[in-house]
């Protein structure tokens, strides 16, 4: 199997006339996690959005190498941002099943993924009844239900208690141990076992 690599080269991003990223380059390999660290407002989230194809950079390029050539580039990745992409008015199982269908996973994994995310037994409950932490868990359950090599996570432990944060750390550790890649924007420590690199963002980026 080919080694998978995420390569970012000379990324430059200007938003609202303000330079957010300038000449950012890095490479993440299979079995590696990359932390994007730094205080709020230095462009961690923007960098993730560029990697996720949601923002078009003014300069530079990102490429995911070694993926399945039949699959379009953006379908190799999972992006978990601030907004959970969960609909109230639908049950937990319906919400997750929808994303499994849309993202192209195996429909049989829904209830398994829910219980692995600590939401077992709540399948039929309306997603509007969940607490913020449970909503975050439901959003992260997508990572379990649909296997994809590259994870882009924006503050994955926000709204979670320490137990939840441990769970996220275990989840990411397992993922990179089985050859996955992860880029994580965070200002908190997440104790990931495995090969971890850190990219520090500073306010001087202008």
């Amino acid at each position: 199997m080919l080694e998978k690599r995420l390569v970012a080269k000379d990324l430059t991003l200007i938003r609202g006339g303000r330079p957010v990223l300038s000449d950012l380059s890095f490479t993440v390999r299979s079995g590696q996690a990359l932390y994007l660290r730094g205080p709020n407002g230095v462009g961690k989230s923007s960098a993730l959005m560029v990697l996720a194809g949601l923002l078009a950079p003014q300069g530079g390029s990102t490429a995911f190498e070694g993926g399945d050539p039949d699959v379009q580039p953006l379908s190799h990745l999972h992006y978990v941002g601030h907004d959970p992409a969960i609909k109230t008015g639908m049950s937990l199982a319906e919400n997750l099943a929808f994303w499994v269908d849309v993202l192209g996973g195996d429909a049989g994994t829904v209830s398994q993924a829910l219980s692995e995310a600590g939401l077992g037994g709540l399948d039929k409950i309306d997603a509007g009844m969940l607490s913020a932490g449970q909503t975050r868990r439901l959003a992260l359950a997508r990572l379990i239900a649909v296997p994809r090599p590259l994870w882009l996570l924006d503050e994955p432990t926000s709204a979670l208690d320490s137990e939840g944060a441990d769970w996220v750390a275990r989840l990411i550790s397992q993922h990179i141990a089985s050859g996955g890649l992860a880029v994580i924007a965070t200002h908190l420590d997440i104790a990931i076992a495995g090969e971890v690199e850190t990219l520090n963002f500073s306010r001087a980026a202008a």
């Binding site: 109230t88 995310a117 037994g121 709540l122 009844m129 607490s131 868990r137 939840g164 769970w167």
Partner: protein, 256 residues
């Protein structure tokens, strides 16, 4: 019930109207109500078709009055029930008033639609048209819109406890406004002289017609009471479901 706070002075009414108590005593009421409703409809239909003559003026079309008049009566009675419940919601903040309001709205809409439908079925052979911009028909149509608007408002809220009080305000405004609508529509009628005027000669109500009319009105009113009671019970059960589901979500916590 999870959604009621214990009252400081539990009078007899408070106790009877407590959702838990209500579920207890109303359970024994459902079957008898169903039974009398069915009997009343049986008797009513017997009189409407077999034991009453055709009207000398309207002919057999008079038989449509036996569904039209009761539904038209219920379309207004149901609003009266909602009006009373709305006051209960706003003044005493009684949970049963919310439940009663919510359960009555679709019934009112259905009976109003039925009154309009049977009216237009009657109008076609009698007036030669399904619809006439007649004051009473027009204001009944507006009443249907008000019912449907109230239902839409109920459904637009996630929080049903908050919805109850806002819907109650709309119900009160509607109640005040309905006479105004009725009045203005009549006035509109005289203002614009319609191109073709159809007037129904007020039929002299004969005893042979009055009996089926009264029995059918009773039957439909009983039907309304039965459905309203069952729907209220269902609504209380739904609220219990909601609190149980919330409890389940809380109990699950974040335990991985």
């Amino acid at each position: 019930m999870a959604d009621t706070s214990p009252n400081a002075h539990p009078g007899w009414f408070t106790r009877i109207a407590h959702p838990g108590m209500f579920m207890g005593w109303s359970r024994h009421l459902v079957l008898p109500l169903v039974a009398i409703t069915v009997i009343a409809f049986g008797v009513g239909l017997y009189f409407s078709f077999l034991a009453s003559p055709a009207d000398y003026q309207m002919g057999d079309t008079v038989r449509m009055m036996y569904v039209h008049v009761p539904t038209a009566w219920l379309s207004q009675f149901c609003y009266a029930v909602m009006f009373a419940s709305a006051i209960g919601t706003l003044v005493w903040r009684h949970p049963m008033a919310d439940v009663s309001q919510k359960a009555a709205a679709p019934l009112g809409a259905a009976f109003t639609a039925l009154a309009l439908f049977t009216g237009s079925m009657w109008g076609r052979p009698t007036w030669g048209t399904f619809w006439e911009w007649d004051g009473r028909m027009t204001s009944t149509l507006v009443l249907l819109f008000i019912y449907l608007g109230i239902i839409a408002l109920w459904r637009a809220f996630d929080d049903q406890l908050k919805a109850a009080r806002i819907v109650a305000v709309v119900t009160l405004v509607g109640a005040v406004n309905i006479p105004v609508i009725k009045f203005s529509v009549d006035w509109w009628q005289t203002l614009h002289q319609p191109a073709s005027v159809f007037r129904m000669d007020g039929p002299t109500v004969d005893g042979s017609i009055l009996v089926p009319l009264l029995v059918m009105t009773l039957a439909f009113s009983l039907l309304f009471m039965t459905l309203h009671l069952v729907r209220m019970r269902t609504e209380i059960t739904r609220r219990r479901i909601r609190s149980l589901e919330l409890a389940q979500a809380r109990a699950a916590g974040g335990a991985a």
